[in-house]
């Protein structure tokens, strides 16, 4: 019983890692940029939700929706104004650029909302659900449900909508997509928008279980581990990597000595990198001569 309870909490946590990892992978697949500021986008999304719901007193779901829209616009503008000029530069420059953007976002959020810890009131926070003898916080159930819903929407979007297919095309071959009339630049900005949107969803789902502060973006480092485990180019891989990390971390916290919980995620990542460097669900292969 205890095992199942811990496992479900871990899966809820893992869904959050998975959602952040999904944001990394979306951008990486399309533009070969690794967005080290993804965690800070999540932080910003959570702050937007707190502003709309907590400060402006809007109904929760409306505030949630507004937070998502605001973040999507923010992601689009971020790509249009800053990132686009960097396409074609070395990967290392872009890594440093996104890290610096993360620094700026953290400083700005600290300046606007203060470094006090805020909390987000939701219709479901603090309640327990009792399913067949298992007592689980409703926050975790909402996280799991929200992740499943978002994944299905994204899958349908990429599989069936014209824009989704154009995105797949420009991620596979920019030049060919451009010749076919796909507006590659705008598509890239839209991918940034989607990634920021996913971050906003993750941030809002995460807000009730871990209070909102400018530092909450550091969870992104663990999500890196998730993305690497999944193989940095696979969307389902990112989610599964997140689930693996989330659940094993919770189990390690319950059954292993203290101190090991913090490094579980990273140890798993090192193991995967050593024995299967391309990740569990690799889609990108290394170039060979």
């Amino acid at each position: 019983m205890e095992f199942l309870q811990v496992l479900i909490t871990g899966l809820g946590q893992g869904c959050l890692y998975g959602l952040i990892a999904l944001g990394f992978v979306l951008i990486y697949k399309a533009t070969e940029i690794v967005n080290f500021a993804q965690g800070d986008l999540l932080m910003l999304g959570a702050f937007f939700a707190v502003t709309y719901v907590g400060i402006l007193d809007l109904p929760f779901w409306l505030g949630f929706l507004l937070a998502i829209i605001s973040m999507a616009v923010f992601g689009y503008l971020l790509d249009m104004v800053v990132i686009r000029s960097m396409i074609g530069e070395s990967q290392f420059s872009i890594i440093i650029l996104t890290i610096s953007i993360g620094f700026i976002l953290r400083a700005v959020a600290g300046g606007i909302w203060g470094s006090d810890i805020l909390s987000l009131e939701t219709p479901y926070s603090g309640k327990m659900a009792d399913i067949a003898g298992l007592v689980i916080g409703q926050e975790y159930l909402v996280i799991i449900a929200g992740t499943i819903l978002l994944s299905v929407i994204l899958f349908l979007f990429f599989r069936f909508s014209r824009l989704g297919i154009a995105m797949q095309a420009s991620s596979q071959n920019q030049l060919a997509a451009y010749y076919m009339g796909v507006p590659v630049k705008r598509v890239f900005s839209l991918i940034w928008a989607i990634s920021a949107l996913v971050a906003a969803v993750a941030g809002t789902l995460m807000a009730p279980i871990s209070l909102v502060s400018p530092q909450m973006g550091f969870i992104g480092i663990k999500a890196f581990a998730a993305a690497v485990i999944g193989g940095f180019g696979s969307l389902p891989g990112a989610l599964i990597g997140g689930l693996i990390i989330g659940s094993s971390e919770q189990l390690a916290g319950t059954y292993l000595p203290t101190g090991l919980q913090e490094i579980t995620a990273y140890s798993i990542m090192f193991l995967v990198l050593t024995f299967r460097p391309q990740g569990l669900f690799a889609q990108i292969q290394q170039k060979k001569v």
Binding site: G88, Q91, I95, I99, S115
Partner: protein, 358 residues
Amino acid sequence: MRIIFKTAYLQDIKLLKHNGYIFWYGLLLLAVLIAPAVLDEFYIGEMAFIFIYAIAGLGLMIPVGFTGLPSLGHAAFMGIGAYANAYFLHQGVPFLISIFLAGLISFGVGALITIPLRKMTGIYFAIASLVFAIIVKEIISHWKSVTGGLGGMSVDYPVIFGFELDSTWQFYFLCLAILLLVLYLTLNLVRSPTGRAFVAIRDSEISAESMGINLSVYKIKSFAISGFFTGLAGALFAHRLSYLTPDAFNFLLSIQLLMMVVVGGLGTVHGAIFGAIFVGLLPQAIAIAKDYLPPAIGQFPGLEPGLFGVIMVLFIIFEPMGLYGRWVKFKLFFEMFPLYRKATFKRQKTYLKTERVQ
């Protein structure tokens, strides 16, 4: 414009290429040597800090600037060097041996960690090195018998042959001596076959390999040497802090080191020094500027890290060659006047996908 007439192959790798070098660098050395007699004690302390940063910057420049291994985890080597030095001093080991051991342990860790990392490129390497730093920090926090855990540990004053170096100017000269040693070793490394192999790996792994360079061995060498230098910097850093806690060696320190080499100029020895001066002076400049700014901006929480971020973004977008690159352009403009062409330093962009099978 000075044209050097070369009559021997060895002239190509001379450290001092012409008399101008001897004059200007001699002048700089003289200025640094007499600084403690002229400047206020506070500034001497800050300069010693800049020297420590410069040592770490040189250490980081070897993998990032010369070998092309994007390390986001060099705070780990600083931490290992600092804690090793403090631990050995507590055990009664003489300072000169203790700082050498600190560097050596860091060297060993650098070599070991590169064994799993050597096959990775680009982002994978960056993330793995970042994770390495996190794991090292966790180990430092939990290994109470050696590091004192989260409570931290104190650091004794360095003692060399019975002299206790407890005043600022003595520490200043200690840092200066080690910086000069590391500088000489780095310059020597860069002009040696090993250093050239590093640069070849940075420019193209495939062509380096086909020239007979063993990628794994050279990557391990690069990281191990870097670990040694950064470990030395960490050992000095421990004395500067005088009380160690694991939090001093977090992600932000790695980024600060990285910012140093990027702002200074990647792939140049000058860059590490320029970057160290920049990073060392920035907090002072911000502190001074705070008094003159309107309180809404001056009292802005997180002003310093935010400004760090803004400066990095501006450098990456507008001057990826860093401060040293700006200086080279500036110099060339006057040397070539009026024939300077902007296109000399035009960046080449690569739009081809790098890691994918086409």
